[in-house]
C-alpha cells in the first residue's frame, strides 16, 4: 500500500507574522458535518450531547467542551471538530476532516484588518467571544469566529488556504502602513 504523508491545509503557509498579526493553523482533529433530518433536530442534538458533551450549536454559535467543538455552519448544519463521532440516528453525517483550512488570526489590529475584508460588524460589542458568522472574507465564503479579545478563527475551503493567507496578510500590511505616515 502506498505510504502517504498527511499535509495540513495551511502547511508551508503559516505560522507567519505580518503587519503585527500572528497567523497560525488551528489543528482541528477529526471533523464531521452533522445535518439532522427534518424533525430530528432535538433527537440528534441529544445524541450528540451524549457522545461529545455538546448539543447542536445555535445559529451563530461555536460551543466547546474540552477538545471538542461544535460550530454552526449554516441552516440545519454543524461541524463537530476534535472528536470522532458515532453514528447519530436521524442525521446525515459526512467526514470533513482536512476539507477546510482554519486560520487563527491574532493581534491588536485584528478587528481593523478583518474590517477590510468582512462585511460585518466584528467589534466585541456586536460580536463577542463564541460568536460565529457565515459570511465573506474578500471573495471567499467563510466562517468567521471570535475566539478571544484579539483573536479570530477564519475557516475557508482548503483550496482557498493560500488566497486566505495572502488576502489577510495584504490587509494587515495595509493597516500597519497607516501607522508609518
Amino acid at each position: 500500500m502506498a505510504r502517504l504523508i498527511a499535509k495540513s491545509p495551511l502547511a508551508g503557509l503559516v505560522p507567519v507574522e505580518v503587519g503585527g498579526l500572528t497567523l497560525s493553523e488551528v489543528e482541528t482533529g477529526p471533523v464531521t458535518s452533522v445535518a439532522p433530518f427534518k424533525g430530528k433536530q432535538t433527537a440528534v442534538s441529544k445524541a450528540l450531547k451524549a457522545a461529545v458533551g455538546l448539543g447542536m450549536p445555535k445559529v451563530g454559535r461555536m460551543d466547546r467542551k474540552g477538545e471538542a467543538r461544535a460550530l454552526w455552519v449554516g441552516r440545519g448544519r454543524a461541524l463537530v471538530m476534535g472528536a470522532a463521532l458515532p453514528d447519530l440516528e436521524g442525521a446525515a453525517q459526512t467526514d470533513q476532516t482536512g476539507a477546510n483550512a482554519v486560520l487563527r488570526v491574532e493581534g491588536p489590529a485584528v478587528e481593523a484588518v478583518l474590517a477590510r475584508l468582512v462585511p460585518l460588524d466584528l467589534r466585541a460589542t456586536a460580536f463577542p467571544v463564541g460568536q460565529t458568522a457565515r459570511t465573506m472574507v474578500a471573495h471567499m465564503m467563510a466562517s468567521v469566529t471570535r475566539v478571544g479579545d484579539a483573536a479570530f478563527e477564519v475557516m475557508v475551503m482548503r483550496s482557498m488556504a493560500q488566497t486566505l493567507v495572502h488576502d489577510i496578510g495584504g490587509a494587515a500590511k495595509a493597516v500597519a502602513a497607516r501607522d508609518l505616515v
Binding site: V59, G60, G74, R75, R77, P119, L120, A133, R134, T135, M136, M141, A142
Partner: protein, 86 residues
Amino acid sequence: MRINCPHCGTRDRREFTWSGADVALNRPAPDAGEAAWDDYVHLRENPAGASRELWYHDPCGTFALVERDTVTHLVGDAVLAEKVAR
C-alpha cells in the same frame, strides 16, 4: 444594499445571489393545463415597483422571500421561503 436573512441576520448584498421573482413558490398543479405551465416556465413579469423575489444567502444556505421595490431599491420584509404557504 442590505438584505435580511431570516436565518442569520441582516447582511450585505454581496453575500446573496438573486434567484428572480418568486415564481418557484407558485408552481401550477400537474394538471393545470398548457397555458398555466407555459406561463410558469417561460413568461416573466418585469415590474416597476413592488416585487417579491427569492434571494439565496450563499454562506448559510437559506432561501428568503424578499420584498423589494425595483424603482426605489427599498428592501422590505424577508421570510424563509420554506415557511411561505403554497
